[in-house]
Amino acid sequence: MESIALEGTPKTPTVNMDGATGIVEIKGRSIPENSIEFYRPLVEWLEEYSKEPQQITTVNIQLEYFNTSSSKCILDVFKKLEAIKKARNEVIINWYYEEDDEDMLEAGEDYESIIRIPFKMIEVVD
């Protein structure tokens, strides 16, 4: 399957989704007014990928900011990953947050408690 590679913009994150390596990355800012449009192809890609996933899927989320419009879409991404894990594949989720950014750490914990895949919380020190 084709991979996704999107450059970040002031309102949307850098995205890399590679079916050959099973690595999914979302980095930067996610603050578009309408997030559904931006995330739809990503969720569809995961849907397709979930039919034949790699043994290990590694997900790196490193967001500086995200708005509540994105938060639901990000949950949709996680729900697709949850389905991949339920089908007995390994899914590793790395949630990066800036040193002392309690809000971002808590946001990761919120998702973790909803989707029930353990997150690896990684504090990024400058």
């Binding site: 007014e33 708005n67 949950l75």
Partner: protein, 183 residues
């Protein structure tokens, strides 16, 4: 008593004003404002976490404004910009204050008041649970969803939100929203 938009605007311009705006609220405007405020914050605040918090809340409050402005009928006020709204970002003592204002149809006031009063009454943990519940259970539209923006703002500020409504005419009122971010 009649509501005067200019009086309201000058009342909102309190403290050390970083940016104040009155006019059409468009997506492009918000993008520009966020850029300007971000570089301004870089100059006035050293702590990256405080900067982030203010920026996050600003994104949420301006996008809320963008999505929820009600337009007055043209007959009522033909001089008013379309999608009219106000916002002011200022520093008062050690806190940062974001104020937004927009017209709202009177029939929406009851629901919004109930929602805001509920959010204001909740503890930090209750806000967290409500946020997760709405995130996981509510259907979202292109506009966002279920008041998640307001919950998020209350969470990040520890309930530091306030509001008032000024009656404009039989159909409309002006909604003023104030967010206080302790430094």
């Amino acid at each position: 008593m009649s509501f005067n938009i200019d009086e309201r605007y000058s009342k909102m311009n309190q403290g050390e004003v970083l940016l104040a705006y009155k006019g059409s609220i468009t997506a492009e405007l918000i993008t520009n404002v966020l850029g300007v405020v971000e570089s301004k914050l870089d100059h006035v605040i050293d702590r990256s976490i405080t900067k982030k918090k203010i920026y996050n809340i600003l994104v949420e409050s301006l996008q809320n404004l963008y999505h929820h402005v009600d337009d007055l009928p043209y007959m009522v006020n033909e001089s008013m910009d379309i999608h009219f709204g106000i916002f002011v970002i200022s520093k008062m003592d050690e806190s940062y204050v974001i104020r937004t204002g927009n017209f709202i149809r009177n029939d929406k006031i009851k629901k919004l008041t109930e929602r805001l009063d509920k959010i204001k009454s909740l503890t930090r943990d209750e806000l967290k649970e409500l946020y997760k519940f709405v995130l996981n259970n509510q259907k979202f539209s292109d506009k966002g969803g279920g008041g998640l923006g307001l919950i998020d703002i209350a969470r990040r500020t520890g309930g530091g939100v306030d509001y008032e409504f000024d009656n404009y005419d039989n159909d409309y009122s002006f909604f003023s929203f104030k967010i206080t971010i302790e430094n």
